[in-house]
Protein backbone atom coordinates (compact mmCIF):
# COMPACT_ATOMS: atom_id res chain seq x y z
CA UNK A 1 0.00 0.00 0.00
CA UNK A 2 1.31 3.41 -0.97
CA UNK A 3 1.56 6.25 1.48
CA UNK A 4 0.26 8.81 -1.02
CA UNK A 5 -1.78 7.99 -4.07
CA UNK A 6 -3.34 10.71 -6.20
CA UNK A 7 -5.37 9.83 -9.24
CA UNK A 8 -6.04 12.30 -12.06
CA UNK A 9 -6.26 15.23 -9.66
CA UNK A 10 -7.53 18.52 -11.06
CA UNK A 11 -7.86 21.83 -9.38
CA UNK A 12 -9.56 24.92 -10.72
CA UNK A 13 -9.93 28.11 -8.76
CA UNK A 14 -13.29 29.22 -10.15
CA UNK A 15 -12.48 29.01 -13.86
CA UNK A 16 -8.70 29.18 -13.55
CA UNK A 17 -7.34 25.73 -14.03
CA UNK A 18 -4.10 25.08 -12.19
CA UNK A 19 -3.88 21.30 -12.25
CA UNK A 20 -5.41 18.95 -14.77
CA UNK A 21 -5.39 15.21 -14.31
CA UNK A 22 -2.18 14.73 -12.33
CA UNK A 23 -1.51 11.25 -10.94
CA UNK A 24 1.22 10.51 -8.45
CA UNK A 25 2.20 7.69 -6.11
CA UNK A 26 4.67 7.79 -3.25
CA UNK A 27 5.57 4.68 -1.28
CA UNK A 28 6.16 4.44 2.45
CA UNK A 29 9.63 5.30 3.60
CA UNK A 30 10.24 7.19 0.39
CA UNK A 31 11.26 10.79 -0.20
CA UNK A 32 9.77 12.23 -3.35
CA UNK A 33 10.97 15.60 -4.66
CA UNK A 34 8.80 17.71 -6.94
CA UNK A 35 10.49 20.14 -9.29
CA UNK A 36 8.76 22.47 -11.66
CA UNK A 37 8.61 26.05 -12.90
CA UNK A 38 6.88 28.74 -10.86
CA UNK A 39 3.15 28.48 -11.21
CA UNK A 40 3.19 24.86 -12.30
CA UNK A 41 0.92 23.87 -9.41
CA UNK A 42 3.43 22.11 -7.16
CA UNK A 43 2.23 23.85 -4.04
CA UNK A 44 -1.39 23.36 -5.06
CA UNK A 45 -0.78 19.64 -5.39
CA UNK A 46 0.86 19.55 -1.98
CA UNK A 47 -1.97 21.52 -0.44
CA UNK A 48 -4.54 19.14 -1.90
CA UNK A 49 -2.77 16.24 -0.21
CA UNK A 50 -2.52 18.25 3.00
CA UNK A 51 -6.34 18.70 2.84
CA UNK A 52 -5.99 22.47 2.52
CA UNK A 53 -7.70 22.51 -0.88
CA UNK A 54 -10.48 20.34 -2.19
CA UNK A 55 -9.62 18.86 -5.58
CA UNK A 56 -12.05 19.83 -8.34
CA UNK A 57 -11.84 16.34 -9.80
CA UNK A 58 -9.97 13.13 -9.12
CA UNK A 59 -9.33 11.30 -5.89
CA UNK A 60 -6.46 10.74 -3.51
CA UNK A 61 -5.57 8.46 -0.66
CA UNK A 62 -3.24 8.98 2.26
CA UNK A 63 -2.14 5.72 3.91
CA UNK A 64 -5.03 3.99 2.22
CA UNK A 65 -7.64 6.43 3.50
CA UNK A 66 -9.85 8.44 1.20
CA UNK A 67 -8.65 12.03 1.34
CA UNK A 68 -12.02 13.54 0.49
CA UNK A 69 -14.23 11.63 2.88
CA UNK A 70 -11.99 10.75 5.81
CA UNK A 71 -10.39 14.14 6.20
CA UNK A 72 -10.12 14.03 9.97
CA UNK A 73 -8.41 10.64 9.96
CA UNK A 74 -6.06 11.77 7.22
CA UNK A 75 -5.22 14.92 9.13
CA UNK A 76 -4.11 12.93 12.13
CA UNK A 77 -1.40 11.33 9.99
CA UNK A 78 0.05 14.30 8.12
CA UNK A 79 2.05 17.42 8.84
CA UNK A 80 2.97 20.20 6.49
CA UNK A 81 5.87 22.61 6.73
CA UNK A 82 4.85 25.44 4.47
CA UNK A 83 5.55 29.13 4.20
CA UNK A 84 3.60 29.98 7.31
CA UNK A 85 5.40 29.50 10.59
CA UNK A 86 2.18 28.86 12.58
CA UNK A 87 3.63 30.75 15.54
CA UNK A 88 2.18 33.17 18.06
CA UNK A 89 4.47 36.15 18.45
CA UNK A 90 3.94 36.62 22.16
CA UNK A 91 4.37 33.01 23.16
CA UNK A 92 7.83 31.63 23.80
CA UNK A 93 9.31 28.97 21.58
CA UNK A 94 8.56 26.29 24.13
CA UNK A 95 4.99 27.50 24.69
CA UNK A 96 4.40 27.57 20.97
CA UNK A 97 5.47 23.96 20.74
CA UNK A 98 3.37 22.99 23.73
CA UNK A 99 0.34 24.61 22.13
CA UNK A 100 0.88 23.20 18.65
CA UNK A 101 1.31 19.65 19.92
CA UNK A 102 -1.28 20.07 22.65
CA UNK A 103 -4.15 20.86 20.27
CA UNK A 104 -3.29 17.64 18.45
CA UNK A 105 -4.09 15.81 21.65
CA UNK A 106 -0.70 14.98 23.06
CA UNK A 107 1.28 16.72 25.80
CA UNK A 108 5.03 16.19 25.39
CA UNK A 109 7.25 16.39 28.46
CA UNK A 110 9.79 19.17 28.88
CA UNK A 111 12.57 16.69 28.18
CA UNK A 112 11.05 15.67 24.86
CA UNK A 113 10.61 19.29 23.78
CA UNK A 114 14.17 20.11 24.78
CA UNK A 115 15.49 17.14 22.85
CA UNK A 116 13.65 18.14 19.71
CA UNK A 117 14.80 21.75 20.00
CA UNK A 118 18.41 20.67 20.52
CA UNK A 119 18.15 18.43 17.53
CA UNK A 120 17.38 21.40 15.30
CA UNK A 121 19.90 23.61 17.10
CA UNK A 122 17.64 26.17 18.76
CA UNK A 123 17.56 24.68 22.25
CA UNK A 124 19.02 27.79 23.82
CA UNK A 125 16.19 29.94 22.49
CA UNK A 126 13.48 27.90 24.19
CA UNK A 127 12.37 30.79 26.41
CA UNK A 128 12.60 33.48 23.76
CA UNK A 129 9.38 34.96 22.45
CA UNK A 130 8.92 33.77 18.90
CA UNK A 131 8.48 37.37 17.77
CA UNK A 132 12.27 37.71 17.81
CA UNK A 133 13.05 34.60 15.77
CA UNK A 134 14.56 34.92 12.30
CA UNK A 135 13.00 33.20 9.31
CA UNK A 136 15.53 30.39 9.41
CA UNK A 137 14.97 29.82 13.10
CA UNK A 138 11.24 29.70 12.54
CA UNK A 139 11.79 27.06 9.91
CA UNK A 140 13.89 25.05 12.35
CA UNK A 141 11.15 25.39 14.91
CA UNK A 142 8.69 23.94 12.38
CA UNK A 143 11.03 20.99 11.91
CA UNK A 144 11.19 20.51 15.65
CA UNK A 145 7.40 20.36 15.72
CA UNK A 146 7.45 17.77 12.95
CA UNK A 147 9.95 15.71 14.95
CA UNK A 148 7.61 15.73 17.92
CA UNK A 149 4.43 15.08 15.95
CA UNK A 150 6.05 12.20 14.03
CA UNK A 151 3.59 12.28 11.13
CA UNK A 152 3.22 9.31 8.80
CA UNK A 153 3.35 11.68 5.85
CA UNK A 154 5.36 14.89 5.84
CA UNK A 155 4.88 17.63 3.28
CA UNK A 156 7.65 20.15 2.72
CA UNK A 157 6.82 23.19 0.66
CA UNK A 158 10.15 24.66 -0.41
CA UNK A 159 11.76 22.99 2.55
CA UNK A 160 15.19 24.49 2.08
CA UNK A 161 14.06 28.08 1.71
CA UNK A 162 15.61 30.51 4.20
CA UNK A 163 17.74 27.83 5.85
CA UNK A 164 21.50 28.24 6.18
CA UNK A 165 23.97 25.51 5.16
CA UNK A 166 23.88 23.90 8.55
CA UNK A 167 20.12 24.13 8.51
CA UNK A 168 19.89 22.41 5.13
CA UNK A 169 22.07 19.60 6.43
CA UNK A 170 19.90 19.30 9.49
CA UNK A 171 16.76 19.26 7.38
CA UNK A 172 18.22 16.41 5.35
CA UNK A 173 19.06 14.52 8.52
CA UNK A 174 15.46 14.91 9.62
CA UNK A 175 14.15 13.70 6.29
CA UNK A 176 16.39 10.66 6.53
CA UNK A 177 15.19 10.01 10.06
CA UNK A 178 11.60 10.16 8.87
CA UNK A 179 12.06 7.88 5.90
CA UNK A 180 14.01 5.43 8.01
CA UNK A 181 11.08 5.28 10.41
CA UNK A 182 8.79 4.36 7.54
CA UNK A 183 7.20 7.76 7.02
CA UNK A 184 6.99 9.28 3.59
CA UNK A 185 8.14 12.75 2.61
CA UNK A 186 6.77 14.73 -0.33
CA UNK A 187 8.61 17.95 -1.01
CA UNK A 188 8.66 20.75 -3.54
CA UNK A 189 12.05 22.28 -4.09
CA UNK A 190 14.28 24.19 -6.44
CA UNK A 191 17.63 23.16 -4.94
CA UNK A 192 19.02 20.20 -6.83
CA UNK A 193 22.14 19.79 -4.67
CA UNK A 194 20.67 19.12 -1.24
CA UNK A 195 17.68 17.35 -2.74
CA UNK A 196 19.93 14.82 -4.47
CA UNK A 197 21.27 13.73 -1.08
CA UNK A 198 17.90 12.60 0.30
CA UNK A 199 15.45 12.11 -2.52
CA UNK A 200 14.58 8.59 -3.67
CA UNK A 201 12.60 9.70 -6.68
CA UNK A 202 12.12 12.94 -8.52
CA UNK A 203 9.19 14.31 -10.50
CA UNK A 204 9.07 17.38 -12.70
CA UNK A 205 5.63 18.96 -12.87
CA UNK A 206 5.08 21.22 -15.84
CA UNK A 207 1.71 22.09 -17.38
CA UNK A 208 0.04 19.31 -15.44
CA UNK A 209 2.40 16.70 -16.88
CA UNK A 210 4.40 14.83 -14.29
CA UNK A 211 7.66 13.49 -15.70
CA UNK A 212 9.36 11.08 -13.33
CA UNK A 213 13.09 10.45 -13.25
CA UNK A 214 15.75 9.02 -11.00
CA UNK A 215 18.00 11.16 -8.85
CA UNK A 216 20.95 10.46 -11.14
CA UNK A 217 19.07 11.72 -14.17
CA UNK A 218 18.03 14.78 -12.25
CA UNK A 219 21.60 15.62 -11.28
CA UNK A 220 22.88 14.97 -14.79
CA UNK A 221 20.21 16.93 -16.64
CA UNK A 222 21.12 20.39 -17.95
CA UNK A 223 17.69 21.82 -17.31
CA UNK A 224 14.74 20.12 -15.70
CA UNK A 225 12.05 22.06 -17.52
Amino acid sequence: MNAIRGESLSKSFQHYQVLKGVSIEVARGECYALFGPNGAGKTTLLRIFATLHRPSAGSFEIMGMDGRRERTKVRALIYMIGHGSYLYDDLSVKENIQFAIGVRGWNPTDGEIKKALDQVGIGRFARLRSRYLSAGMKKRLSIAKALLIRPKVLFLDEGYASLDERGVEMMNECIRAFTKAGACVLMTTHDRGPTAEVADRVGVLNRSVLREMTVKEMVAADALF
Binding site: A50, T51, L52, R71, T72, K73, R75, A76, I78, Y79, M80, G82, H83, G84, S85, Y86, L87, Y88, D89, D90, L91, E95, F99, A100, G102, V103, R104, G105, R129
Partner: protein, 225 residues
Protein backbone atom coordinates in the same frame (compact mmCIF):
# COMPACT_ATOMS: atom_id res chain seq x y z
CA UNK B 1 -11.83 14.50 26.43
CA UNK B 2 -9.83 15.69 23.48
CA UNK B 3 -12.54 18.17 22.43
CA UNK B 4 -12.40 20.13 25.67
CA UNK B 5 -8.64 20.00 25.84
CA UNK B 6 -8.56 21.75 22.45
CA UNK B 7 -10.95 24.39 23.75
CA UNK B 8 -8.73 24.84 26.78
CA UNK B 9 -5.53 25.08 24.76
CA UNK B 10 -6.94 27.74 22.44
CA UNK B 11 -8.30 29.83 25.28
CA UNK B 12 -5.03 29.39 27.22
CA UNK B 13 -3.03 30.60 24.24
CA UNK B 14 -5.25 33.67 23.78
CA UNK B 15 -5.19 34.60 27.43
CA UNK B 16 -1.42 34.15 27.69
CA UNK B 17 -0.78 36.27 24.58
CA UNK B 18 -3.12 38.92 25.87
CA UNK B 19 -1.47 38.86 29.29
CA UNK B 20 1.90 39.37 27.62
CA UNK B 21 1.02 42.27 25.31
CA UNK B 22 -2.29 43.62 26.65
CA UNK B 23 -3.04 44.98 23.18
CA UNK B 24 -6.69 44.07 22.93
CA UNK B 25 -7.87 44.80 26.44
CA UNK B 26 -6.12 48.14 26.72
CA UNK B 27 -7.36 49.37 23.34
CA UNK B 28 -10.90 48.22 24.16
CA UNK B 29 -10.79 49.87 27.56
CA UNK B 30 -9.41 53.23 26.50
CA UNK B 31 -11.67 53.37 23.50
CA UNK B 32 -14.70 52.84 25.71
CA UNK B 33 -13.40 55.46 28.11
CA UNK B 34 -13.27 57.96 25.26
CA UNK B 35 -16.80 57.04 24.24
CA UNK B 36 -17.99 57.81 27.76
CA UNK B 37 -16.20 61.14 27.63
CA UNK B 38 -17.77 62.09 24.31
CA UNK B 39 -21.21 61.05 25.48
CA UNK B 40 -20.96 63.12 28.62
CA UNK B 41 -20.31 66.16 26.44
CA UNK B 42 -22.91 65.33 23.82
CA UNK B 43 -25.92 65.07 26.11
CA UNK B 44 -27.26 67.42 28.69
CA UNK B 45 -26.75 65.89 32.09
CA UNK B 46 -30.25 66.48 33.31
CA UNK B 47 -30.98 63.48 35.59
CA UNK B 48 -34.33 62.59 34.02
CA UNK B 49 -32.99 62.62 30.47
CA UNK B 50 -29.96 60.74 31.66
CA UNK B 51 -32.06 57.97 33.09
CA UNK B 52 -33.83 57.70 29.77
CA UNK B 53 -30.73 57.51 27.61
CA UNK B 54 -28.31 55.81 29.98
CA UNK B 55 -29.00 52.21 28.83
CA UNK B 56 -28.40 53.34 25.26
CA UNK B 57 -25.12 55.03 26.18
CA UNK B 58 -23.89 51.99 28.05
CA UNK B 59 -24.64 49.60 25.23
CA UNK B 60 -23.36 51.86 22.50
CA UNK B 61 -20.09 52.08 24.44
CA UNK B 62 -19.98 48.31 24.90
CA UNK B 63 -20.91 47.76 21.28
CA UNK B 64 -18.03 49.93 20.07
CA UNK B 65 -15.76 48.13 22.49
CA UNK B 66 -16.84 44.83 20.99
CA UNK B 67 -16.10 46.11 17.51
CA UNK B 68 -12.61 47.21 18.52
CA UNK B 69 -11.79 44.09 20.48
CA UNK B 70 -13.56 41.25 18.71
CA UNK B 71 -12.63 42.53 15.28
CA UNK B 72 -8.99 41.97 16.06
CA UNK B 73 -9.35 38.69 17.88
CA UNK B 74 -8.42 36.58 14.85
CA UNK B 75 -5.57 38.82 13.79
CA UNK B 76 -3.00 36.75 15.65
CA UNK B 77 -4.29 33.68 13.85
CA UNK B 78 -3.72 35.04 10.37
CA UNK B 79 -0.43 36.80 11.06
CA UNK B 80 1.56 33.58 10.81
CA UNK B 81 -1.00 31.51 8.89
CA UNK B 82 -2.19 29.77 12.04
CA UNK B 83 -5.63 29.41 10.41
CA UNK B 84 -3.97 26.99 8.03
CA UNK B 85 -2.61 25.02 10.94
CA UNK B 86 -6.08 24.85 12.46
CA UNK B 87 -7.50 23.71 9.15
CA UNK B 88 -5.08 20.77 9.14
CA UNK B 89 -5.82 19.77 12.73
CA UNK B 90 -7.58 16.44 13.25
CA UNK B 91 -10.09 18.01 15.66
CA UNK B 92 -13.65 19.27 15.26
CA UNK B 93 -13.46 22.91 14.17
CA UNK B 94 -16.20 23.83 16.62
CA UNK B 95 -13.71 23.26 19.43
CA UNK B 96 -11.50 25.99 18.00
CA UNK B 97 -14.50 28.28 17.79
CA UNK B 98 -15.44 27.60 21.40
CA UNK B 99 -11.89 28.31 22.56
CA UNK B 100 -11.74 31.64 20.75
CA UNK B 101 -15.25 32.47 21.94
CA UNK B 102 -14.36 31.82 25.58
CA UNK B 103 -11.24 33.97 25.31
CA UNK B 104 -13.18 36.83 23.72
CA UNK B 105 -15.97 36.54 26.25
CA UNK B 106 -13.46 36.83 29.05
CA UNK B 107 -11.85 39.93 27.53
CA UNK B 108 -15.20 41.62 27.00
CA UNK B 109 -16.38 40.83 30.52
CA UNK B 110 -13.14 42.10 32.01
CA UNK B 111 -13.50 45.40 30.20
CA UNK B 112 -17.16 45.69 31.18
CA UNK B 113 -16.44 44.98 34.82
CA UNK B 114 -13.90 47.81 34.83
CA UNK B 115 -16.17 50.15 32.88
CA UNK B 116 -19.32 49.77 34.94
CA UNK B 117 -17.89 51.51 38.01
CA UNK B 118 -16.72 54.31 35.75
CA UNK B 119 -20.23 54.76 34.39
CA UNK B 120 -21.52 54.88 37.93
CA UNK B 121 -18.86 57.40 38.83
CA UNK B 122 -19.25 59.72 35.87
CA UNK B 123 -23.01 59.66 35.52
CA UNK B 124 -23.96 59.39 39.21
CA UNK B 125 -25.96 56.23 38.78
CA UNK B 126 -27.47 54.41 41.71
CA UNK B 127 -27.08 50.77 40.95
CA UNK B 128 -25.97 49.17 44.18
CA UNK B 129 -29.24 47.33 44.76
CA UNK B 130 -29.40 46.43 41.06
CA UNK B 131 -25.89 45.06 40.95
CA UNK B 132 -26.74 41.40 40.47
CA UNK B 133 -29.37 41.90 37.73
CA UNK B 134 -26.98 44.21 35.85
CA UNK B 135 -24.22 41.64 36.09
CA UNK B 136 -26.58 39.01 34.73
CA UNK B 137 -27.73 41.25 31.88
CA UNK B 138 -24.18 42.14 30.85
CA UNK B 139 -23.12 38.52 30.94
CA UNK B 140 -26.02 37.26 28.88
CA UNK B 141 -25.79 40.05 26.32
CA UNK B 142 -22.01 39.77 26.08
CA UNK B 143 -22.26 36.05 25.41
CA UNK B 144 -24.43 36.71 22.39
CA UNK B 145 -22.26 39.57 21.19
CA UNK B 146 -19.07 37.54 21.55
CA UNK B 147 -20.63 34.55 19.82
CA UNK B 148 -21.54 36.56 16.74
CA UNK B 149 -18.42 38.72 16.97
CA UNK B 150 -16.06 35.75 17.08
CA UNK B 151 -17.71 34.23 14.04
CA UNK B 152 -17.61 37.44 12.00
CA UNK B 153 -14.09 38.18 13.14
CA UNK B 154 -12.95 34.84 11.72
CA UNK B 155 -14.79 35.67 8.54
CA UNK B 156 -13.61 39.23 7.99
CA UNK B 157 -10.05 38.88 9.20
CA UNK B 158 -9.07 37.08 6.01
CA UNK B 159 -10.26 39.81 3.64
CA UNK B 160 -9.26 43.29 2.61
CA UNK B 161 -10.76 46.25 4.49
CA UNK B 162 -11.41 44.07 7.52
CA UNK B 163 -11.74 47.04 9.87
CA UNK B 164 -14.68 48.32 7.83
CA UNK B 165 -16.33 45.03 7.05
CA UNK B 166 -16.44 43.73 10.61
CA UNK B 167 -18.88 46.32 11.99
CA UNK B 168 -20.83 46.39 8.72
CA UNK B 169 -21.54 42.69 9.01
CA UNK B 170 -21.81 42.45 12.78
CA UNK B 171 -24.02 45.40 13.70
CA UNK B 172 -27.18 44.71 11.65
CA UNK B 173 -27.26 41.08 12.67
CA UNK B 174 -26.69 41.81 16.36
CA UNK B 175 -29.67 44.17 16.57
CA UNK B 176 -31.70 41.68 18.67
CA UNK B 177 -28.96 41.54 21.30
CA UNK B 178 -28.78 45.32 21.54
CA UNK B 179 -32.55 45.62 21.81
CA UNK B 180 -32.70 43.02 24.57
CA UNK B 181 -29.71 44.41 26.45
CA UNK B 182 -30.90 48.02 26.32
CA UNK B 183 -34.43 47.15 27.39
CA UNK B 184 -33.28 44.96 30.27
CA UNK B 185 -30.75 47.57 31.41
CA UNK B 186 -33.44 50.23 31.27
CA UNK B 187 -35.59 48.10 33.50
CA UNK B 188 -32.77 47.52 35.96
CA UNK B 189 -31.61 51.15 36.09
CA UNK B 190 -35.09 52.53 36.64
CA UNK B 191 -35.46 50.24 39.63
CA UNK B 192 -38.25 48.06 38.29
CA UNK B 193 -38.77 44.72 40.03
CA UNK B 194 -36.83 41.92 38.41
CA UNK B 195 -39.95 40.21 37.08
CA UNK B 196 -40.72 43.31 34.97
CA UNK B 197 -37.71 42.82 32.69
CA UNK B 198 -37.00 39.16 33.27
CA UNK B 199 -38.48 38.27 29.89
CA UNK B 200 -35.80 40.33 28.12
CA UNK B 201 -33.07 38.39 29.88
CA UNK B 202 -34.75 35.13 28.98
CA UNK B 203 -34.99 36.30 25.38
CA UNK B 204 -31.29 37.15 25.40
CA UNK B 205 -30.59 33.70 26.76
CA UNK B 206 -32.50 32.15 23.86
CA UNK B 207 -30.57 34.31 21.38
CA UNK B 208 -27.31 33.23 23.02
CA UNK B 209 -28.16 29.59 22.58
CA UNK B 210 -29.15 30.09 18.94
CA UNK B 211 -26.11 32.19 18.07
CA UNK B 212 -23.61 29.92 19.80
CA UNK B 213 -25.08 26.76 18.29
CA UNK B 214 -25.31 28.19 14.78
CA UNK B 215 -21.81 29.66 14.93
CA UNK B 216 -20.40 26.46 16.37
CA UNK B 217 -21.92 24.50 13.53
CA UNK B 218 -21.04 26.92 10.76
CA UNK B 219 -17.45 27.53 11.88
CA UNK B 220 -16.53 24.23 10.23
CA UNK B 221 -17.08 25.93 6.87
CA UNK B 222 -15.05 29.01 7.73
CA UNK B 223 -11.94 27.03 8.60
CA UNK B 224 -12.48 24.22 6.15
CA UNK B 225 -13.74 26.22 3.22
Amino acid sequence: MHFFSVVRWIAWKDLLSEYRNRENISSMFFFALNVILIFSFSFSLDPDTLKEIMPGIIWVAFGFTAIIGLGKSFLIEVNNDCMEYFQCLPVPKGAIYLGKFLGNLLFMLTVEVVLFPLFVLFFNLEILDQFLPLLLISTVATIGLSALGTLFSALTVQIRAREVMFPILLLPLSVPIFIGAVEATRGALSGDPFSMYRHWIELLGVFDVIFVVVSFWIFEFILDY
